[in-house]
């Protein structure tokens, strides 16, 4: 894919950032996730790390969502359907200015706003309480239909995990969205090849995910899910006029960014120790 610099324009009129700047944002977010998991003793760090670039590309280059007006009815909607990776959503929203980064310090603490998995309306920018898989796409599809009925031109982007594609509701929604020609709906699958206790390609016959989405009537793409330029380009690309919703099968690495976590499914549940946090910081080029 040819990288168009226009892809990096801030969708709500902020300063245009370079690819290098966005990559730095992603590294900072990743380090925050490691710290949050360590501080709060929360699992799913590998899952959170794998979707960081998808979220950064969406929030910094594509979604028309203004942190100053998080409830604007015309805003684009983003749903992190893989709610177990909520820390990534929170860290990205905080960095984008939806709420104070201080909130990340108390992540998952008693009485704090940010629960381990998102609760309804727990923070500005959190569009849906997720955590049970297979819910985000049907709800997002309802939002997209609702927008069309009410003459609003906003988009809906839903990020799914590959394990989540085990759920039948994903495919019910996929068929209905295609039948309704909802081209304002985009799905990004964080295809990190692991689900909680096994290889996602082995637990279920997932491959070829792109062919599946394509067969379900979607404009399906298969990309490197850590390539911000490619992700931005696709999230930016205008609909092709066929009415097909867009599916982006984003190949990712679970635990991305920290060598000893990458593609090691122990980090679905493991909590990093202090020395591991320090080492992660070194690798990510972010100082503690």
């Amino acid at each position: 894919m040819i990288m168009d610099p226009a892809c990096f324009k801030d969708p709500i009129g902020g300063p245009t950032r370079s690819l290098g700047e966005l990559e730095a944002v992603a590294r900072q977010v990743r380090f925050q996730l490691v710290q949050m998991s360590h501080r709060a003793g929360t699992p799913h760090l590998g899952s959170a790390l794998s979707c960081v670039d998808i979220l950064v590309a969406a929030y910094w280059t594509s979604l028309r969502v203004d942190p100053a007006q998080p409830n604007d009815p015309n805003r684009d909607r983003f749903i992190l359907s893989k709610g177990h990776a909520a820390s990534a959503w929170y860290a990205v929203l905080a960095k984008r200015g939806f709420f104070s980064p201080d909130w990340l310090e108390t992540f998952a603490r008693h009485g704090a706003p940010l629960a381990e998995q998102p609760a309804p309306g727990c923070a500005p920018g959190v569009e849906l309480a997720t955590g049970s898989l297979g819910h985000g796409l049907p709800v997002g599809l309802g939002m997209a239909l609702s927008a069309r009925l009410q003459g609003r031109d906003h988009r809906v982007v839903v990020c799914l995990s590959d394990g989540e594609c085990n759920e039948g509701t994903v495919w019910e929604a996929a068929m209905f969205a295609a039948a309704q020609k909802l081209e304002r709906l985009t799905v990004v699958i964080d295809y990190n090849k692991w689900q909680a206790t096994g290889r996602s390609n082995e637990v279920m016959a997932l491959p070829s995910l792109r062919d599946k989405w394509s067969a379900f009537g979607w404009e399906a793409h298969e990309v490197d899910g850590h390539d911000l330029a490619v992700l931005a380009g696709l999230l930016h690309q205008a609909a092709d006029g066929s009415g097909r919703p867009r599916a982006i099968v984003a190949h990712t690495v679970k635990g991305k960014g920290v060598s000893f976590m990458e593609d090691d499914n122990n980090w679905h549940y493991r909590i990093p120790k202090a020395a591991e946090v320090e080492e992660a910081g070194r690798q990510l080029g972010v100082t503690v």
Partner: protein, 307 residues
């Protein structure tokens, strides 16, 4: 009842542009008038009920008033988590209408029966549960449901249920409708068994035991003021429903009953279906007989209890 539902939703949708109807591939021709009068606001969501309920939640979150309609077991048992998480956890105004509830589709087998769903749905925080008795209560119930800011589940029958009311009654959540007064017994009936309740009351009254009858479309919340009065005024209070004795309307009343600071002196009886799947090939009438839900059986057991 389903015709009354279709008529009423067509009328209410014309008055409120936020109303949309989602059907799980049922209602062939039933919604033709709605489709003609409110183009673009009817969705046949296919045989994919869980997606339908999730979509309804997304629509309700973004300003619409969706009404989901399909056969009760498919709307409720199958979609319990969507109802719980997408609809109730977010407390959005989705109206869920289950048709063919209870034993309406007796002849189709237990896949199509719903004698347990109120037990599941009553426990969901913030979800109101309605069970109208006749076509008029369906119309009034739908009106009341769409006026709520939170979710409502309404279980209705199929078609041809006897009309009890002569016009749309004033139906409100947490309010029951008195149809007969009496001094000895009080019968609280929810859903389409109301005609059976009235016939049982006639038998009892003719035998010298005057029997009050209430239609109780609001299963959750209960009408606590009517219950409080009945618990002190009558010797025998009974509940009646085409639903299991586990978890339904009678259970709700019994829960309220034992939670009184002072136990009521009245005796509480509950009539409903037993803890079994119906394996008998039969129509609704015989299915009710199988579970003892007939006027004569009710009258006999109530007379026994009254002593």
């Amino acid at each position: 009842m389903r015709n009354a539902f279709a008529q009423q939703i067509t009328q209410l949708a014309q008055q409120d542009p936020r109303v949309v109807v989602l059907s799980g591939d049922i209602g062939n021709r039933l919604f033709d008038d709605l489709k003609a009068k409110c183009p673009g606001r009817f969705f046949n969501c296919g045989v994919a009920e869980a997606n339908m309920v999730g979509m309804a939640a997304g629509m309700a979150m973004t300003g619409l008033r969706p009404v989901c309609y399909t056969i009760t077991p498919f709307l409720t048992y199958r979609c319990l988590e969507q109802i719980r998480v997408d609809v109730c956890y977010h407390h959005v105004p989705v109206v869920l209408v289950g048709t063919g509830s209870g034993l309406s589709y007796a002849s189709l087998g237990a896949t199509h029966h719903s004698c347990e769903e109120m037990g599941m749905l009553r426990t969901l925080p913030g979800l109101a549960v309605l069970a109208p008795a006749d076509a008029w209560e369906v119309k009034a119930g739908l009106r009341a449901a769409l006026a709520q800011d939170g979710p409502v589940y309404m279980r209705i029958g199929k078609k041809g249920e006897p009309a009890i009311h002569a016009a749309e009654p004033d139906l409100q959540l947490g309010r029951w409708i008195q149809l007969r007064d009496g001094a000895d017994l009080c019968l609280f009936s929810t859903g389409t068994l109301l005609s059976v309740a009235l016939a049982a009351a006639d038998l009892l009254t003719a035998a010298g035991r005057t029997t009050a009858v209430y239609s109780c479309p609001s299963v959750k919340p209960l009408d606590e003021s009517v219950l409080t009065e009945a618990a002190s005024r009558f010797r025998v209070v009974a509940t009646l429903e085409e639903h299991s004795l586990i978890g339904g309307f009678g259970s709700g009343v019994a829960e309220w009953w034992v939670d009184r600071p002072t136990p009521p002196a009245a005796r509480l009886l509950r009539f409903g279906t037993r803890d079994e799947f119906l394996h008998l090939t039969c129509e609704q009438e015989e299915a009710r007989e199988h579970f003892g839900l007939t006027a004569s059986e009710l009258a006999r057991r109530l007379a026994d209890a009254a002593g």
